[in-house]
């Protein structure tokens, strides 16, 4: 007998439909699995055999062939266990699978259905492919139930699923997970009120948060760069529904979603160590590339401490995502694109010993060492970081005397207002404005345009640098609620371009 069951395999944030066909025919007792299965799928044979037997079902003592179609597509992962087992069991009893239903899940030897990664992504794509019902591991059901209009059947055990299919028992579908946006996250983990002094860096953080600009903090050890960076998520608005969804999909692929709470409204904050590999930061791995830290921090903050200590090729690879907000990685299993629209907050010492420019402690580095260190933060990368500020070390004794900062809550209100203004005007943040739209949407007073051009000539700004300064000026104007970009906004924006040196 022949039975066909639908499933899918994931390639990045896309799922491709896979038909699992099981055919049992007279002949020698054998189990063939064909259709370009990778090792993890070939192993399904053993798991499925045991799971079926241990679920009290009959495993055919015939010549059994399971085909995974389309045959030219390479299949990976353990999610095909459940559909293979269902197809075999259905073929044995001569039943057809329900129409427009898909199955995904790994099997334990006792027939229990185990978690697989990426169920949310699979559910989204299956719905789009016209499926109505999705059988998923019970552990992943709340994740799949985020997709409206898809009936999600939580599967605990193979036996239960099979009984459900035969109409003997019923499994209640998982209810659609309500995605009402929770109120703004109440607790701010790192509050700006704790930061004494550092007015310049505080302002830069506010501008970065308001316009989605990238930020570089440069200063000696112990000057509070890390503390400042950790304050950034606290002044950002909670995620929007679409954003939260994108964040959840990346987490789903990585098996990183908390089961009870698939949608999280707080913005991601990722701080990979400077030893991180290319695959770890950008994404990679064998077969189909998995998302890296830049995609994990999508719609949030990517904090790179000790920027100059990162491997040079890894830093260079940041350039494309910084510019486009996504990253495309090609591996043997095909090419995938992941979202990577993060706010980069980088921190660096001014020199290897860290004390260059400190008013009290002398720097011990030779000029050549300092030059080499700063060269590692290559021009092209720095050119993409809109806001660059020096952070000064506040001596311990003076710390108490420094004015206590404004709390994050107050800063966040200004940031939210500025972001709202941008959304109404252009539907995106200033940092994402294309040059052509800048001209129409970010009009400047005549004098301020002249200022920008003068700087550009004096410092030999690239076209990219020119547009980036323009965008920052737009954000400064938005924070003030100004319609036109005035001279003071341009001047402030240029003040953050630390690494422009006279040509």
């Amino acid at each position: 007998m022949l039975a066909t069951v639908d499933s899918c395999v994931l390639a990045g944030l896309e799922a491709r439909r896979v038909e699992v066909q099981a055919d049992s025919a007279n002949g020698e007792t054998k189990f063939f699995l064909v259709g370009l299965a990778a090792t993890s799928v070939k192993e399904a044979r053993e798991r499925v055999r045991s799971a079926i037997k241990n679920s009290g079902l009959d495993f055919p003592r015939k010549r059994l062939t399971v085909n995974l179609a389309p045959a030219e597509m390479r299949k990976e992962g353990s999610g095909l266990d459940l559909p293979i087992a269902i197809a075999i069991a259905l073929a044995e009893v001569g039943k057809r699978a329900p129409a427009r239903s898909a199955f995904l899940g790994e099997l334990a030897l006792d027939g229990a259905v185990r978690h697989v990664d990426g169920v949310l992504v699979a559910a989204r794509c299956l719905k789009r492919l016209g499926f109505d019902r999705f059988f998923v591991p019970a552990a992943d059901a709340s994740e799949a139930a985020l997709i409206e209009g898809l009936e999600v059947i939580p599967c605990e055990h193979l036996a239960g699923v099979f009984a459900h299919l035969l109409g003997q028992t019923q499994i209640a579908p998982q209810l659609f997970t309500d995605v009402a946006v929770e109120g703004a996250a109440g607790v701010v983990e790192n509050d700006l009120a704790e930061v004494h002094g550092q007015e310049e860096a505080r302002r830069a953080i506010e501008v970065a948060a308001a316009g989605g600009h990238h930020l570089l903090l440069s200063g000696p050890p112990g000057s509070g760069k890390t503390m400042l960076a950790r304050c950034v998520p606290g002044i950002l608005p909670p995620l929007e529904l679409a954003e939260a969804f994108e964040v959840a999909q990346v987490r789903s692929l990585l098996g990183d979603l908390s089961p009870g709470r698939p949608l999280d409204w707080t913005r991601p904050f990722r701080a990979p160590h400077h030893g991180v590999s290319m695959a770890g930061l950008i994404g990679g791995g064998s077969g189909v590339a998995m998302p890296g830290e830049i995609s994990r921090s999508n719609h949030g903050v990517l904090f790179l401490d000790e920027l100059a200590e990162f491997q040079a090729p890894v830093l260079q690879a940041l350039r494309q995502p910084l510019e486009t907000g996504r990253v495309t990685i090609t591996r043997s299993g095909g090419s995938v694109t992941y979202p990577a629209r993060f706010t980069l907050v980088a921190a660096t010492n001014p020199c290897p010993c860290g004390w260059l420019g400190d008013p009290v402690r002398a720097c011990r580095c030779t000029q050549a060492v300092v030059d080499g260190y700063q060269r590692r933060l290559s021009g092209p990368l720095l050119d993409r970081i809109d806001l660059q500020v020096q952070v000064r070390r506040v001596p311990l004794a003076a710390l108490a005397a420094e004015p206590r900062g404004e709390p994050s809550q107050a800063v966040r209100e200004r940031v939210l207002a500025a972001r709202a203004r941008q959304q109404t005007r252009q539907g995106c943040l200033n940092a994402q404005l294309k040059p052509s739209r800048l001209r129409t949407l970010a009009a400047m007073e005549p004098g301020s345009k002249r200022t920008l051009e003068r700087w550009s000539e004096q410092k030999g700004l690239t076209a990219r640098g020119f547009h980036r300064a323009w965008r920052v000026a737009r954000t400064a104007a938005d924070l003030e609620g100004a319609e036109l970009i005035a001279d003071r906004h341009v001047l402030e924006a240029l003040g953050y371009r630390l690494h422009d040196v006279a040509a």
Binding site: Q198, E200, R202, R203, P359, Q390, R392, A476, H489, G495
Partner: protein, 257 residues
């Protein structure tokens, strides 16, 4: 005449070295220095700007430029009719112990040694000592009493070195010009240059030597940081201030009169 000083001068020291060298070069004086980073390079550059001849006394063989970044400068020195001089054979690479010997040679080649900025125990002070041993005249440029870079020069002045406020002081010591110290109550005419015409409140709070941060200025002036940063940028565009370390300093105009 030799101009020596710190390899890592303040913007003030660099400006003084460059301006002094330019003025002296215009007066026909040959400026001798060590082709090192900082004051030395500023002195050579100033002399070239002043259309003069300058000699670089090197601590390496003449075929090796150290630091390598000064290769162009070395070429320009030769092209302008100056010379690269070394007591070491060709192919001598930079070695720590060679530089004090070079400093002695530098002093020997000059009639007057002017120290621009020097921390205590620096190579510039070794040159000054060597000059005294060779019975040459030593002069020093004063600076801020807050600046560690002026500790060495102030010590020299206290011990009797000539005070340099402008090129005329040096010319007088060389016996070329009239010895006239500027009226101490008015700003020196050729060095220091006073404040730019724009009487911006911010400029009064800035120093030539020590960088002042935007946040500090904002607090002193009771203005928002964003506005102070904008005004500083505007001054930077006009060439009145420049960035230095973690803040801004007043820019001393050099190279042009």
């Amino acid at each position: 005449m030799a101009i020596v000083g710190s390899r890592r001068p303040s913007p003030y020291g660099e400006a003084v070295a460059e301006q002094l060298a330019a003025d002296l070069a215009r007066a026909g004086v040959v400026v001798v220095s060590g082709l090192a980073l900082g004051c030395d390079a500023a002195a050579h550059r100033g002399a070239l700007n002043g259309g003069g001849v300058t000699i670089a006394v090197m601590g390496t063989g003449v075929d090796i430029v150290y630091p390598a970044a000064h290769f162009r400068l070395a070429e320009e020195i030769v092209a302008a009719g100056g010379a690269l001089v070394s007591q070491f054979p060709n192919g001598t690479s930079p070695r720590r112990r060679n530089f004090p010997a070079r400093n002695v040679t530098l002093a020997a080649l000059s009639d007057v040694v002017v120290v621009v900025e020097a921390v205590q125990g620096s190579g510039a002070l070794i040159t000054a000592e060597a000059a005294l041993d060779l019975h040459k005249e030593v002069m020093a440029v004063p600076g801020s009493i807050f600046s560690p870079l002026s500790v060495g020069t102030h010590a020299l002045i206290r011990d009797g070195a000539g005070l340099v406020q402008n090129a005329r002081d040096v010319l007088a010591a060389l016996g070329v010009g009239r010895e006239v110290l500027d009226d101490p109550l008015s700003a020196p005419k050729r060095l220091g240059f006073g404040l730019p015409a724009q009487r911006d409140g911010i400029l009064l709070h800035l120093s030539d030597v020590l960088a002042v941060s935007t946040a500090e200025l904002a607090r002193k002036l009771h203005l928002p940081v964003a506005e102070v940063l904008g005004r500083l940028t505007s001054l930077e565009l006009d060439g009145a201030v420049r960035r230095h370390g973690a803040g801004y300093v007043r820019a001393l105009r050099t190279g042009k009169d």
